[in-house]
């Protein structure tokens, strides 16, 4: 073993087989050399397995957006180790194109990034950049637009600026989904949508996750949607991971959640209250329908 190999062996940790994202001791400082230096991430250890639906929550400025931007190298690793789908992002020159095609990133208010003359062109922008040929591009764009619930033939030659707010959001979403990413990172995908729009976006994300096995990371401020959709919740606080556990477990700690200025989801509060009265439902019951069914089932078996 040469000297170089030895050094490398020390800094490269073992990445678990099933991990889509693996971060170890990840740190990031903004404006490192000035008086305004701010530690945005400190000692982040986090593993996200393939096919998981993970929600990232935390107060404004807790580092969650900084963290997710690391995932397709929009922010480069300053110190620590980060591996996304087998690519070592701490390396000096990772293959950015391949990485960005596999990690779809939906920013806050993605409709503000629309630019092309037609919807079709806009959805194809990413595909074109990644070198997909023309015929295939149109087919993939069609698939993506249908996936987000838009009528392809009707919308493809419209200007994206003539659409309604909800439609714009979906076109922007289709622009990312068209690339068929293996990891979907979303920064508040439902912000500013009406309740129905929110439900539609969430059910789309859920079906991508459950049917196509897409790994989903969702940053959100809405604890209700986090509670009902995520397999796991990661709470960021002052650039550190404060909690990392399944939603039911997390929101049992009502006092701690409120101490972090986060809200306890309505259904979690309801189930917590039931538990205080001795009625314990399975941890998997988190939506209104699931809880209703579970309570009903309990009643049908008296004094079980």
């Amino acid at each position: 073993m040469s000297r170089a190999d030895k050094v490398k062996a020390v800094v490269t940790p073992d990445v678990p087989q099933n991990a889509a994202i693996f971060a170890q001791d990840l740190n990031f400082v903004y404006n490192a050399k000035s008086n305004f230096a701010k530690q945005a991430l400190s000692h982040i250890d986090l593993t996200v397995n393939k096919g998981e639906f993970v929600a990232i929550v935390g107060h404004t400025g807790s580092g969650k957006t900084t963290f997710v931007q690391h995932l397709n190298a929009l922010i480069r690793v300053q110190s620590g180790y980060l591996n996304v789908l087998g690519a070592d992002l701490s390396a000096r020159k990772p293959d950015l194109k391949a990485l960005r095609r596999q990690v779809g990133m939906v920013f806050q208010y993605p409709e503000y990034q629309l630019f092309a003359d037609t919807v079709l062109e806009d959805v194809c922008f990413g595909l074109k950049n990644f070198g997909v040929d023309k015929d295939q591009r149109e087919q993939m764009a069609q698939d993506a637009l249908q996936l987000v619930g838009l009528d392809f033939d009707q919308i493809k030659s419209k200007s994206p600026f003539d659409l309604s707010g909800g439609e714009k959001r979906r076109v922007a979403l289709a622009g990312v989904l068209a690339m068929k990413p293996q990891i979907l990172v979303m920064d508040e995908p439902t912000a500013g949508l009406d309740p129905q729009g929110k439900a539609e976006v969430l059910s789309l994300v859920r079906s991508l996750n459950q049917q196509q096995g897409v790994t989903v990371l969702m940053v959100s401020h809405d604890m209700n949607e986090v509670y009902e959709n995520a397999d796991r919740v990661v709470v960021f606080r002052n650039g550190e991971v404060a909690f990392d556990m399944p939603p039911r477990q997390l929101f049992r700690n009502e006092a701690e959640i409120e101490a972090m200025n986060l809200e306890v989801p309505a259904m979690a509060a309801f189930c917590n209250e039931l538990e205080r009265h001795g009625v314990v439902l399975p941890d998997s019951c988190r939506t209104v329908d699931e809880v209703f069914a579970a309570v009903k089932a309990l009643r049908e078996v008296p004094n079980a």
Binding site: K97, R100, F107, P110, Y112, F115, N129, F161
Partner: protein, 282 residues
Amino acid sequence: MLRDVTFGQYYPGNSFVHRMDARIKLVLTLLFMVGIFFVQSFAVFGFVTVFLLAVIFISQVPLRSVLRSVKGIVVLLVLTAVLNVFFAKGATPAEQPLWSWWKIEIYANGLKQAAKIFLRLVYLVIGSSVLTLTTTPVDLTHAVESLLKPLRVIKFPVHEFALIMSLTLSFIPSLIEETDRIIRAQKARGADFDTGGLIKRAKAFVPILIPLLVGGFRRAEELANAMNSRCYEGATKRTCMRVMKLGWRDYVAAFVTVAFFAGIFVLYAMRGSWGGVTWLYF
């Protein structure tokens, strides 16, 4: 990457310079900018350098932050200076060129002139960035409004002018932030701004410029609506929350600066009559 834009960026602090009245700072900066054109020799540039360094030291703004504003346009400044080398003739008709080729002649005087022009431009930029680094955009706008007040006599819309200025200044950071966000969003979709020829690179900016323009108009409209819904009317008598008052700092700073530049004007006016003191006129 866009966060490095220093021009017009306030460096928070509580120094002597920060606490001065913005109007005085503005007037003194203008005096400095005019005065610098009366500096004719390297020796006097030396005095100005000391003066400028003293002001920067008192303002407690790190020299690095001040110099960053020069970094952005250094190419332009060097180009201007280099062009001057080619166009300047000898100080006297008798002066021989140092180097000549075809119709191009370079004189020692040309090199001297170019160096002075470069210094003058650099000092202009540094002087104005000391102002913007130590004064918030809001204070600066108030200062402009207050100084332009006499123009009301000729029906010049002073308040509206100041409003346009403050809106422009307040839009700059938010537009920078938005540009940054759009760039990241398009990069995430595989956009590539760093490779390819000139035309390809220019084309790569379309996906940034269009959302930026659309966003700019959107913001402008939102702001106009917000102002309308609060019944904003510019022309009526408005008062300021913070009334600007001159303090001892302003008198001291004004006295020192005016005295310094009075000296420079004297040196300029008396050039030629101080034949013995040649080092002053190198």
